[in-house]
Amino acid sequence: MSMPAATIDAPAAPAAPTAVGRPEIVLKSSEFRKGRAEGWLELERLVTRVERHGIRGLSLDELQRLPILYRAALSSLSVARTIVLDRNLLLYLETLSVRAFLAVYGPRANPLTGLRAFFGQELPAAVRSARWHILVAALTLFLGVIVGFMLTVQDETWFNSFVPSGLGGGRGPSSTRADLYDKEIFAPWPGLVESFGLFAGVLFNHNTLIGILTFGLGMGVGIPTIMLTLYQGLPIGAFVALHYNRDLTIDFLGWLAIHGVTEIGGLILFAAGGLVIAEKMLFPGRYSRLENLAMHGRLAGQMAVGAVIMLFAAAFLEGGCRQLVASTPLRFVIGFGVGALWLAYFSLAGRGARR
């Protein structure tokens, strides 16, 4: 090239020579910037206002300008990446584009609509889509109950190995029928304040912790989930056996059902969520494990949220209502009635709506 480099971008007709006799330098990138900077700055003003006051802060006209300016900035960015070496400009455009992108594609819904969509459609749909995992988790838990029952019924010393001492609450092979009947199953209602206080203790009890563990350990490809679920069934079986041997089966089942249907449902949901995670990690299909987990992990997270809510409800039933209702048939009705409500909610809610 014989032409001086600095004049390469000069217009075809040589620019007017300056005082020292050199033509004026015209950079394509400078011209590019000059024509568009106005739009970028306008976009920045709009985006700043959206960030500060939400999309409602814009007038109708500005609302219509926003996507136009956003697309213009994106196209500027694409061009700038190939023709501009101005670092400040490139960084500015990158950041502005991300900010505008977030303003244009941010969550549309207000918090209330978001929550309604979550509980109205997404949560039940997630639970429905994991029905096989739920079945596996339920069968595993049931197996644990059977094993716990069979072993304890023959030899009550098994009770102490299945039931952690904190959970037993003084009950055990040495309890008599009258003990269990008066101090456990039909113990008097302790009053509003005390029973609501129980709620706290019940909420964070042993079962809840293990339930959370079954979910979290889904990351460990599912084996810990299955084992812990089985392990959760054992004390239930042991308790049933203890009462069976004292001819209290029906009354105990009623005592258990009023909150247990909901609580065990929550625990099963936790375990099923863990199994979903495990499955997506073990069998990622044609995606990478992490990609597959991101695609389906939301399901598992939603199920865990459902489980937390069920445990909350169970704690309320156990702490607040169980001893208030001193009738076995009524306890069955409440327990299974609430269970039926959960079933109806998870299987029917949001069915017609499109995801």
Binding site: P4, P23, L27, G54, L90, P107, F196, G197, L293, G297
Partner: protein, 300 residues
């Protein structure tokens, strides 16, 4: 281009940002900066403070309205209940209303985005924040109550909790994208979104000095952008000394024999910058990008 930015930042500030690319629905790749651990921790601490104050205020108001003693079981379970509601509504509400930012995140300049570049779905926000409950707060609650009420059954559960907490607390540290469990499940990413202003163009229109192609070929995009950063700095005696040094180096490299008067250093460098940028941009248009001075002349 991203590479050149990072090299310059690295060279001048000694700090390098982890970057990820998302593709907008329009098909344009955007590079976003991952949030630092420190930034996220500070944002979380601010949020923690805010919602704790909210909970305590609410609780005090309620307890004094009902008229129970502060240490009673009722007050404790009321606290747990209010805590559960407030912190979950706090995170979900703000991240939905403020497009992926809570007050803490906003102060620090962080945002939650969809990892694939799509719109941030309400379900993702709900999932990522309610998992926080399962990930941190519920085990923390268990840990706190277990320490108080347990009579002897602590062994198994405490072991489990420790393992569990360890697994999940360390999650952001063991994956490249610094995602916590909730991010992993919801498919989200936390990015840092600094505010940048558009500074004026440094291009000098009046050409007093003249540089040949051979002289301009001495440098590449990296050196150009470092020079740009130096020229954009505020003029102080210190920066002038640095610029004089740079000017001296450039003159030696391009064999510029005419001495430059101290007063002329700034105009000279600006003109050199203009000429160099015009040259490199022009070369780039023909596909001959030059990353730095070590790159082979006339090609990649």
């Amino acid at each position: 281009m991203t590479l050149a930015h990072d090299r310059t930042s690295d060279f001048l500030e000694g700090a390098r940002r982890e970057r990820r690319q998302i593709v907008t629905p329009e098909g344009v790749p955007l590079s976003v900066e991952l949030a630092d651990y420190g930034e996220r921790l500070v944002a979380f601490a601010i949020d923690l403070f805010v919602w704790l104050v909210m909970i305590i205020a609410l609780l005090i108001a309620l307890v004094s309205a009902i008229g129970v003693s502060g240490g009673s079981l009722l007050a404790i379970s009321l606290g747990l209940f209010i805590g559960f509601m407030v912190r979950n509504l706090y995170f979900v509400g703000f991240e939905l209303a403020w497009r992926g930012a809570t007050p803490g995140k906003r102060l620090v300049g962080l945002r939650v985005i969809d990892r694939a570049g799509g719109p941030l779905q309400p379900s993702a926000v709900v999932a990522r924040n309610l998992t926080r409950e399962i990930e941190t707060f519920l085990p923390l609650g268990v840990l706190l109550t277990a320490g108080k009420s347990a009579t002897g059954a602590v062994d198994w559960s405490n072991l489990g909790i420790a393992l569990w907490m360890l697994l999940f607390a360390a999650l952001p540290f063991i994956n490249r994208d610094r995602m916590r469990g909730g991010d992993l499940l919801a498919g989200t990413l936390v990015i840092s979104l600094p505010k940048r202003v558009l500074s004026g163009d440094l291009v000098e229109r009046k050409a007093k000095y003249f540089f040949t192609d051979a002289q301009l070929r001495a440098y590449g995009a990296f050196e150009l952008q470092v020079l740009e950063e130096l020229l954009r700095r505020q003029v102080t005696p210190d920066s002038m000394r640095l610029l004089a040094e740079v000017c001296d180096k450039i003159c030696r490299r391009i064999e510029w024999t005419t001495p430059i008067a101290p007063a002329d250093i700034l105009p000279f460098l600006r003109e050199f910058y203009t000429a160099e940028r015009a040259f490199l941009e022009h070369e780039q248009l023909f596909g001959k990008t030059r990353a730095d001075k070590h790159a082979k002349p006339g090609g990649d």
